[in-house]
Amino acid sequence: MEWMVTANEPGKTYLMQGNEAIVRGALEAGIRFAAAYPGSPSSEIMTMLGHVADDMDIYAEWSTNENCAFQACMGASMGRVRSLCVVKQNGLLTLGDSLHTAGLSGCKGGVVLLVADDPNAHSSTNEFDSRHQARAAGIPMLEPATFQEAKDMMIYAFELSEQLQQVVMVRSVTRICHGRGNVTLGELPASPSQPLPIGEWDKLISINWFHDLQFTKLDQAQAAFEENPFNWYTGPEEPELLVVTSGTGWLYSVEAVDALKLGDRVGILKLGTTYPLPEKFVLRYLEKTSRVLVVEEVDPVLELNVANVIAHNPGLNVSLYGRYQKSALPQSFELNPDVVIAALASLMGIEYQAPQTGEVPADAVVNIPARDLTFCAGCPHRASFFLLKQTLRIHESNGVVMGDIGCYTMGGNRAGHFLLQSIACMGAGINMGEGLGHLSRFGFEQPVVALAGDSTFFHSCLPGLVNARYHDANMLFVILDNSATAMTGFQPHPGIPLNCMGKPANAISIEKVVEGIGCSVTVADPYEIEATTQLVYDLIKQPGLKVLILRQPCATLAVRTKGRRKVWVDPDLCRGDECGCGRFCSKTWGCPGNIWDYEIGKAKIDEVVCIGCGVCASLCPAGAIKVEGGQA
């Protein structure tokens, strides 16, 4: 298989995804070790490294969680090889303690931490700004503004990391990671970095003695940033307004200045090295203007850094605008050219006329239904949520269900019958459940159920389960085992006998772990809805900690290997709207494969979407849904 990221074609330009560019950059930098936990928008990076690991003779690992990943990289760094750790914004916080202590100890072989933020939370529960962590952990940070920079900065980051013996953060966002654009390839190294022996006095110790040394490294970084190819200015000698920008803000600012034809009045200072801020460099341009607009995502991080510079240089006469207190830009959600054009137009007192969308008479405006997210056709979570909702209603005890992070997080919306009553972060389900369950000693009688996926289980539920067992929590812990880290793109995890590089791995049995911790565990198939409803009913009647594994592979994965069975509705048997059905399959079961034939007024299967799991057939009260070869 030929991969763009390993093409031996220096100088050739390809359309590359931002994540691909990052991979290519890391390979050009000669990394030998890479570890990550899946997290959108960064997941493609490690997947690709896994594909090319053999060809490039590197080690690529889907670690059990981000902490494992980052500390593994620090370990590899001791052996003097270049290591890349890739995380999404939430994952960065998972490795928070590691990051701060790493900032203190520094590193040996270059360590680059690639953090992918998700402004607008396109594929996250929240949006936040990881850039604060660079200052908090005391490490330098770079922000690519284009796909080309996404590649080039990786090389620079590793050089900087080894020069300073310090971890370097490269912070990307969704629009770079998942966008695609022109990237010109560089040279791949003849051979990647080799491990070197570790001497008796070669150490990586995190201890407060080194705090001042940490600042010295930051000063060295700052000096390197003062004159740097990733920072430049375009615009007039003395702009009326100076745009200071980093990351995606740069291209939006360029487009805004072009759209408003302000090229001779507004200057753009683009920064790629944003922590520590190259203050002398920035000051040179601040001195030449009276108004500054900072364009960045998500928080006013750069803006407050610039404010700091302004505060410490009282000779300056500059008004500062940006996202802070919404002075020019919104405080939340992602930027786009329109928002920046509007801000700039307002500050420059210009009226901008965007191309007009055509006028639509009121009676021609169509009512467009929203597109709720739901589980894929055949998803076992649909079955799990259906049977859990059903069981808790039958038990009439107002059972409380704590959710966690994965595809099943969608169980909090209509797809899961609004079952979830809490959603926080990875591992929150079991821990919140443990806490709430203890209130039974004070007379709290509602059954507590906590959910976790199989990947989430290994990521953060192990201490939670130990805690629950140790304290004899009163709860039912349900592990939704679909044999994948599905939400992020079907990456393997410790329960799967295959690793990131496609090689055999020691799969760990979830039930053995649970039993090893001393819990009783039952395994059931969520597709067997009636039988599993009875099972859950019996379990919630029992006191103490119960563990149930609902095991059925992710439908989207299964269909790749097993293919689809044909499913269809016999319209003569279908009850449709009548009492005894009421369109149960499409309205209540809600699988996108179950649709309605408006012409004949009967249920129908959408063959393009249906994968043939047959669960709807088992639920149809009239036995009208048929499955090829009978039911599984």
């Binding site: 654009g181 007009q356 969308t357």
Partner: protein
């Protein structure tokens, strides 16, 4: 070397529902354009689209420089819609009288419609509103045609064929086919090429 574009940047939106091959289609298009020497930026909004959500790719083509990943309001020159209500949703944001729309009329029902809480609008009504919003509107039954050709899942390639045939797009059929050839082999390549040609020859442009 790239030929100057009539409109620079040329802005194309490709939209639909997760699972329709939207991303692949826009990626192949953009690769062909880069191969021809153009700066191309593709901005993908898909979030959790795998789970039936809306998908949108913004493709920005320029002979001069790299543009940002998002098209400003009303500045889409072409919208290719894989699904009717997604096409309308996108058009309301990004279309204006400068916009040409081509869409596949096959509905993909959102959960709200399936459960009977919302009604899926009539295709005629959708086309009518699009006509108010945009410069021109054409319907292309890509899924049906692709299904007849042997695989409903290849509707995305058919639509890319139709797009490539448009005069604004600085590509010949061979340019796109070359990319298909790099990506697919054997029967899959043959089918995709057949379907691409069907699309290329399908629209009155």
């Amino acid at each position: 070397m790239s030929v100057q574009l009539g409109k620079d940047p040329l802005n194309v939106v490709i939209c639909g529902v997760g699972g329709q091959g939207n991303i692949l289609a826009s990626e192949l298009l953009a690769s062909a354009l880069v191969e021809k020497g153009y700066y191309t930026t593709v901005g993908e909004t898909y979030g959790a689209s795998q789970r039936g959500g809306s998908v949108m790719s913004h493709v920005r083509i320029s002979a001069q420089k790299q543009y940002s990943a998002l098209i400003p309001r009303g500045e889409a020159h072409i919208i290719i819609g894989f699904e009717p209500i997604e096409t309308l949703r996108v058009a309301r944001e990004y279309a204006s009288k400068i916009t040409k729309v081509v869409f596949d009329p096959r509905p993909n029902y959102p959960l709200g419609v399936l459960i009977g809480e919302a009604v899926y609008p009539e295709i005629d009504a959708i086309a009518a509103e699009l006509k108010y919003l945009c410069g021109s509107v054409q319907i292309l039954e890509a899924t049906r045609l692709a299904q007849e050709a042997g695989n409903a899942q290849a509707a995305n390639i058919l639509l890319m064929g139709a797009l490539t045939a448009m005069p604004e797009i600085p590509l010949q059929a061979e340019d796109y086919v070359q990319v298909l050839n790099q990506r697919f082999k054997g029967e899959v390549y043959e089918l995709n090429q057949t379907v691409f040609d069907l699309g290329f020859n399908s629209l009155a442009v």
